[in-house]
């Protein structure tokens, strides 16, 4: 094919640079501000693009055993336990639904898919959690969102893609359903498990709404704390940071933002290569 015109090339380069900058600059500013000193933030009118004397004071302040530290623990715990439980339930259900001839397979599949079309609604879900006595328990952050239909469909599609011969061979060797699942299916599904696991983990890590519905404020996870102190603008005071606040609120707010974002940035590069594959299996099969 003919070479593209220079104008087109330049336009493309410009558009790409814009995309990258639009994503990266806000993060850079936040990280920089969180590392800046109080004086510098004040002198700059609240904003720092490049701190002259970076310091970790803001982080030291909020990680001193106050509410942010506690919230970080809650978030980490809910994310870990929730992701493992969700994966266990999704894998077993997806495996059962992926095998032909499972008793009740088709009705169950329709039952599950129907919930996608017709979600139950906020109020009935809330009343259900309330009547089950789950209010103010961490279980209320996990159980109501235990299995995600999209993730279920992704895994089911992936399991169905495993060659039938492998199942037959395992059966001939006398393996039962559990054995087949653990020794044949799961080792072959690492990519799909990684993607689905990531989706669950991100959802748990990012969730704040259920916490605001079901939990008392001293049990809040990080995102809900962030919402209160950064978006709603209540300052982080002595009580919340553990001891006297010396850092400018702005740097502390930015530090909380960074802490809430970092785990995502950490796992992201490792799982990124699996996204496309995982998402597409789901999209095509549904």
């Amino acid at each position: 094919m003919e070479k593209p015109k220079p104008v087109t090339q330049a336009g493309k380069a410009l558009a790409l640079a814009a995309v990258v900058l639009l994503v990266c600059v806000p993060f850079l500013v936040i990280v920089s501000t969180s590392l800046a000193s109080t004086d510098e933030v004040v002198a700059n009118g609240g904003w720092v693009l490049w701190p002259t004397e970076p310091s970790l004071d803001a982080y030291r302040d909020i990680l001193d055993g106050g509410i942010v530290t506690h919230a970080l623990g809650v978030s980490a715990g809910v994310t870990t336990v929730g992701t493992l439980l969700s994966l266990a339930c999704t894998v077993t259900l997806a495996y059962a639904l992926s095998r032909p001839g499972v008793f009740g397979g088709r009705p169950v599949l329709l039952l599950v898919l129907f919930t996608f079309l017709f979600p139950p609604g906020m109020i009935p879900s809330f009343l259900l959690v309330k009547e089950l006595g789950l209010l103010d328990s961490y279980a209320s952050l996990v159980l109501p969102v235990l299995v995600n239909v999209f993730n279920l469909v992704v895994l089911r599609g992936f399991f169905q893609g495993i060659p039938e011969e492998l199942y037959e061979a395992a059966r001939l060797d006398g393996a039962g359903d559990w054995r087949v699942l653990f020794s044949v299916v799961l080792p072959l599904s690492k990519a799909a498990l990684a993607v689905v696991g990531l989706f669950y983990a991100v959802a748990y890590w990012n969730s704040w709404f259920y916490a605001s519905l079901y939990l008392e404020s001293d049990h809040w996870p990080l995102q809900q704390v962030l919402r209160t102190y950064v978006i709603a603008g209540s300052g982080l005071t002595d009580a919340t940071t553990g001891e006297g606040t010396v850092t400018a609120p702005q740097t502390v707010q930015m530090a909380v933002l960074v802490i809430a974002t970092v785990p995502i940035l950490l796992v992201y590069p490792f799982l990124q290569k699996y996204f496309t594959k995982g998402v597409l299996t789901g999209a095509i099969k549904s």
């Binding site: 094919m1 995309v19 299995v147 995102q223 549904s286």
Partner: protein, 284 residues
């Protein structure tokens, strides 16, 4: 299979059955099942409630704006990325563009506040140059463009995945054949690329239409305090404030049920239309 199934039965069908509350007057002491029936009373109240219709109107408005201004962006971005021949650059830009999808709405809203808010980056810049400052976050008139911009920032990159996959499946030979027949870049785009990805576009459009009454509950709820309900009230936040905050469970559940039924009907209808047009649709 049992734990997963139990989850669906309890938390989806159990909660679905809980929608009977929409036909009741909730009395906390009697619980969900013991509360007295009021027939269609909650629905009648809802249809006569101006605030409810304002919320519906807002929802539809924001959905339409997103359809017009957000929907084409991932497609355009995918076409741009697909046209790159240097794969290192492409992969790098893709990674960067996907990233905001994994950032929570709390952080996205906080980011936007910090950049565009009262004392944010933009305003300190304007002030530094001696210009007038603008209040984008708190201005109800600026709210709709703002939420569309947020959705684009957060999800446009992620939305390219499916288009890129569709583009990758287009047969290279078709391009070569078209080029030999003298078709320029635009004609090749129009006659080869677009027809090839048409099913995906239709599919996503249908899903969007079916979902038109859901326009980012968390996004709106997080910002409703800053701009006020006139601008940010959608059906979901209406349900939240009437029910969870106001305690008027039956009334709020009626509004939620209304949304659910209309939404399901829309998906069904959109899918029918897709079949008529000879497309695959979401399901058969």
């Amino acid at each position: 299979m049992l734990p997963g199934l139990a989850y669906f039965l309890l938390f989806h069908y159990g909660a679905l059955a809980g929608n009977v509350i929409a036909f009741k007057e909730y009395v906390p002491f009697d619980g969900l099942w013991g509360s007295p029936w009021v027939g269609l009373g909650n629905f009648r109240r809802m249809f006569e409630d101006g605030a409810f219709w304002d919320a519906v109107l807002n929802t539809v408005w924001i959905a339409v704006l997103q359809l017009v201004f957000y929907f084409p962006v991932p497609l355009a971005l995918a076409l741009l990325l697909h046209s790159l021949t240097w794969s290192t650059v492409r992969r790098f830009v893709q990674s960067v563009a996907y990233l905001p999808h994994f950032i929570s709405w709390v952080i996205v809203v906080a980011l936007f506040q910090q950049v565009l808010g009262d004392t944010g980056l933009l305003n300190s810049g304007l002030e530094g140059m001696g210009w007038r400052t603008v209040d984008i976050i708190g201005d109800p008139d600026a709210f709709r463009p703002l939420v569309v911009a947020q959705v684009i920032w957060k999800d446009a990159g992620w939305g390219t995945i499916i288009f890129l996959a569709a583009l990758a499946q287009v047969d290279e030979q078709q391009y070569e054949a078209a080029a030999i027949d003298g078709a320029g870049p635009w004609r090749r785009f129009w006659h080869v690329t677009l027809p090839a990805i048409r099913p995906v576009i239709v599919l996503l459009l249908i899903m969007r239409l079916g979902d038109i009454l859901s326009v980012g509950f968390e996004q709106m709820l997080l910002q409703r305090d800053a701009v006020g309900p006139e601008a940010a009230e959608i059906i979901d936040t209406f349900v939240y404030y009437q029910g969870i905050v106001g305690g008027d469970y039956g009334f709020a559940a009626a509004a939620g049920l209304f949304k659910g039924v209309i939404g399901a009907l829309l998906v069904y209808a959109a899918n029918k239309v897709a079949h008529r047009l000879g497309e695959q649709g979401v399901y058969k």
